[in-house]
Symmetry: C2
Subunit: 247 residues, 2 copies
């Protein structure tokens, strides 16, 4: 959240385009030793970033786009266990194996740090480890918040909770005046939403249209959402005052 202050254009190593992007690590003057081991990389929507059989050679920070973490059972049932949004950390420093699949949900730009040198920096620079601990604690809170969603909420509440993740982010970025619609694009398909929410895609479709019919949200296109009143959506999610995923 303390990132996104400035953006820079970066050269992607996969394509010839210079992307607008910024990494909160690279913005931190105390961490400028990271500069020498960093490079930017992009993945297009649907592309695999890492999986159980193909471990990552880097760690890094999402600068643009959305990536997802999912686990799959042998019979094909899958559950998304996390979303990586801009400024989120990618990778498992000090761990060899990835225990879930990391996939680009939209086009994604990542500020990468070579894994081995980064792990060396973790030993030499306590501040890096402290920062990672902070971020990991936040992720743990988010995961536990989501366990309540998965275990106890109704389909309608699940959808509302999901929309809140983006609505709250958008509200911050828009610094939205109270009487203005909050507006954002859905970065996930109905099927991906169902994987995140532990539902079927049909139920997702029905419930999101029910929220629309009830005037909780507007949906000019199937992937674009307007929220006239955030507090109503909050109530639909069954949350008290704050309590959002990324609060």
């Amino acid at each position: 959240m303390d990132s996104l202050k400035t953006t820079v254009n970066v050269q992607c190593e996969n394509c010839t385009i210079r992307h607008r992007a910024v990494c909160s690590y690279c913005n931190d003057s105390e961490l400028d030793r990271l500069d020498s081991i960093k490079y930017y990389k992009t993945f297009s929507a649907g592309q695999s970033i890492a999986n159980t059989s193909l471990p990552m050679s880097f760690v890094g920070s999402v600068v643009t786009g959305v990536a997802s973490l999912s686990q799959t059972m042998e019979d094909g049932r899958t559950q998304m266990v996390g979303m990586l949004l801009p400024s989120d950390f990618v990778g498992r420093p000090g761990r060899d194996h990835v225990v879930y699949d990391v996939v680009a949900t939209t086009d994604v730009t990542i500020c990468c740090f070579k894994k081995k040198p980064f792990e060396q920096l973790m030993i030499e620079m306590p501040k890096v480890v402290q920062r990672l601990l902070e971020m990991t604690l936040d992720e743990l809170d988010a995961a536990r918040e989501w366990m309540l969603v998965l275990g106890r909420k109704t389909a309608r509440e699940k959808i509302a909770s999901f929309l809140l993740i983006f609505a709250q982010r958008a509200a911050v970025l828009q610094k939205s005046k109270p009487k203005m619609d909050i507006e954002f694009d859905l970065p996930l398909s109905r099927e991906q939403m169902s994987d995140y929410l532990g539902l079927t895609l049909e139920t997702v479709s029905r419930q999101i249209n029910a929220l629309k019919k009830d005037g909780i949200v507007e949906m000019p296109t199937k992937r674009h959402i307007l929220v006239p009143d955030l507090s109503i959506l909050l109530a639909e999610a069954g949350d008290d005052a704050d309590g959002g995923f990324y609060s």
Copy 2:
């Protein structure tokens, strides 16, 4: 897991009994600076260890017993979001607020460190922070594993997954020869199990008795379980080869 090597008798500050206990931190010679700020504390089954309105004044390590972390919605629906077993870390270093209720599920002994001095040590001793990062990453993996259970598994698979947590611990402790039953006590009531699994207590009761009827487990008393064949239980949980909660 690298703890539990030796045990010591410790004086509890709440009662006059000396408890058999050991803390993995206190066993680590590199961390002996912790000695000066540590004390032991016990909680009896059902007692609250911390909650949203009553933050903790310490962090620490569970040495005996089981504690639970839960979140509750205004209307009373609750979801257990974690279990603290011996050697697990309790508390949120660097955070003021507890975001869920911590309750002793059985009688619990905790090796406590005063919060402020512990946070000071975190600044001075990088090793402490590194260790916490490791543990937090493990907790995050466990939480995500559990998200798959909550979002995608059937009631029967949920029960099997739950029993596996204890069966796998017991298997390690018993170093059980292949042809020997794995044996353990259930530290949770049917209702607590239902809170952990996102089910009702009736469904928990029915499914656990179904597993018994099918010979997957034996249940000499309602709180004691024998597992004749761990691999059958694993299959019931829908997991592949390893994949357990605390693998």
